[in-house]
């Protein structure tokens, strides 16, 4: 029984930690897809961009906070590019995102000094102090148990996520936020009100990609490497979290009628998704059944109750 409890706690600890690491991606998808109605593929380039920038800065001895901020700024530049290409040259939403992702694939390698992979293993990272604390906690309280928990690391991750969520809630609730959401809901109506939508789309995409960049920087520091291929699949990862959170909230009858609720749903969703993955990994008997298992458990969670009300993407 004690073992079982430890195993469940381990799965939760691992899943929650991963969820916090990828939280920035979920917020990024909330801004691009739910607010601006812009399925933005460029985060597949700006997520590794943030990782690359952070890895380079950390290896050259900059403090982790500088790395996180710089990754956010770099990500925002990626968003500016997508927005500019879309607005200026009238390229479709999907295509401009694909272009940015492609361009940053190469740029990321240049940033990492012509390499496709840069370790973040032996440099001081944002999580260093938290991990030291976790190790000493284990030493002190449960060194006899064959288990590892990371309350300090989770707190450290939570701190970043709270800051990110706070910033996004503030911006989405501001006057600018009202305009950004308006563009996502009815761009024609915004134009009819005599407002140019282009610049706002660019601003929104920059914001969204700044979040992706920060998520990349956090992921690089948590995972111990930055790799040009780490962007593959991150849009789906963020999207899965957002949708899962929305469905969950709709089922629980929690209103998504405010930016706070929507971002919270996304964060809960991405964490739940990672917990499911961690449980699937823990259980996974045939080694190549992870995705199958994760997919089936998602379906199972959702099938447990029929939807009570229509899914809303709004607030």
């Amino acid at each position: 029984m004690a073992d079982l409890l430890l195993a469940i706690l381990g799965v939760l600890d691992s899943g929650v930690m991963q969820g916090l690491v990828f939280a920035g991606l979920a917020l990024s998808v909330v801004i691009s897809l739910l607010v601006l109605d812009f399925p933005d593929l460029s985060i597949e380039g700006t997520f590794p961009l943030g990782a690359a920038v952070a890895a380079v800065l950390l290896t050259s001895g900059e403090p982790p906070v500088v790395a996180l901020v710089a990754a956010g700024v770099a990500g925002a530049c990626g968003g500016l590019l997508t927005g500019a290409v879309h607005v200026r040259f009238g390229m479709s939403k999907l295509l401009s995102g694909i272009c940015t992702a492609a361009i940053f694939y190469t740029l990321n390698m240049w940033i990492m000094g012509g390499r496709g992979n840069l370790p973040v293993l032996d440099v001081g990272s944002y999580f260093t102090w938290a991990e030291a604390l976790d190790a000493s906690l284990k030493q002190r309280w449960y060194s006899s148990l064959n288990a590892f928990f990371h309350p300090a690391s989770i707190l450290a991750g939570l701190l970043v996520v709270i800051l990110l969520k706070g910033a996004s809630d503030f911006l989405l609730g501001s006057e600018l936020g009202v305009v950004l959401r308006g563009i996502g809901q009815n761009e024609v109506a915004v134009r009819q009100r005599g407002r140019r939508t282009g610049v706002y789309k660019v601003v929104g995409l920059a914001l969204s990609n700044a979040y992706a960049g920060i998520a990349g920087a956090v992921a690089a520091q948590y995972q111990g490497f930055s790799d040009v291929n780490m962007g593959i699949g991150v849009l789906v990862l963020g999207l899965a979290g957002v949708i899962l959170g929305q469905e969950l909230f709709a089922r629980l009858g929690i209103s998504l009628a405010s930016p706070q609720a929507t971002t919270l749903a996304a964060l809960v969703g991405v964490t739940l998704h990672q917990v499911i993955l961690a449980a699937a990994l823990r259980a996974g008997t045939p080694p190549t059944s992870l995705r199958l298992l994760a997919g089936v458990s998602l379906v199972a969670v959702m099938a447990l109750r029929r939807r009570r009300r229509a899914l809303t993407f709004s607030w």
């Binding site: 501001s174 006057e175 600018l176 009815n186 109506a189």
Partner: protein
């Protein structure tokens, strides 16, 4: 005063045939007028409103606003035009709250600030009082609700109101011309809300607003005691001043719309 002379607008319909939506229309609307446009489907009412709004450019003709002989587009003029289209959802944000729609009017013509909260308690209170002053406490109650949770009729009334409140909400108060364009505002409303909407229009007219309204319902025109302009095939075929309206003009209006005037 808006002086419209020989306005023409041609669309290419299906199979490439040209459709003359406006075919040499001339009309003068004075400041403070309440003009009701009537006419069969496809007679050009919506097209005229959209041209006045600046959404469409005419192919030919002149529109003179006030005494400035300015040419189009309207957006360059110091004229405030509010337009509630036939399908009002086209210009609304279905998932935004009523309060946010009012905020949109407040943001008109200036940069939105990212450091200021959008819906504040002060603004909510202001909107509530404004809506109550227009005699629609039901809408004041619904301020925090998304627009798409309102019934179609209430949505229509709300959007008419929003357009009417535009000049009160936006900073742009020195607009020289306050024109309200309403395209079939009562077509989706039940009798009660229809009455409410007409009350509202009367009241706006009473406050000196210039209103051009398109409708198929002669009762609307009669109850508003408004000037009636009848369009057929893009041309003005009759212009009946409000003073000439009596109960027995109704059959004549019907006949004019149906094009049976000659047999009368």
């Amino acid at each position: 005063m808006i002086q419209i002379t020989d306005l023409r607008k041609t669309f290419s319909g299906q199979d490439g045939r040209a459709v003359a939506a406006l075919d040499g229309l001339s009309l003068t609307i004075n400041k403070g007028d309440l003009a009701v446009l009537m006419g069969p489907n496809g007679s050009g009412k919506t097209t005229l409103l959209r041209i006045l709004d600046g959404q469409l450019l005419p192919d030919a003709g002149r529109i003179v606003w006030g005494n400035s002989a300015a040419s189009l587009p309207v957006s360059r003029l110091k004229v405030s035009v509010a337009h509630v289209p036939q399908d009002p959802s086209a210009l609304a944000f279905p998932e935004m709250t009523l309060a946010e729609h009012l905020l949109w009017e407040e943001l008109n013509g200036r940069m939105p600030r990212f450091w200021r909260r959008g819906i504040t308690a002060r603004r909510l209170e202001k909107y509530r009082m404004l809506l109550e002053s227009y005699g629609v406490p039901a809408l004041a109650e619904a301020l925090p609700r998304p627009l798409n949770t309102l019934s179609a009729g209430w949505r229509q009334i709300f959007l008419v109101l929003v357009s009417a409140m535009r000049s009160e909400l936006s900073r742009d108060r020195d607009a020289s011309f306050d024109l309200l364009l309403l395209d079939e505002p009562t077509s989706a409303l039940d009798a009660e809300n229809s009455r409410l909407c007409l009350e509202l229009i009367k009241r706006l007219h009473g406050e000196g607003r210039t209103i051009v309204l398109a409708t198929h319902d002669p009762e609307v025109a009669l109850s508003l005691r408004a000037r009636i302009c009848i369009l057929r095939s893009g041309r003005l075929v009759a212009d009946i001043p409000a003073a000439e309206l009596r109960e027995d003009t109704l059959p004549r209006i019907r006949a004019l719309i149906a094009g049976l005037e000659a047999t009368l």
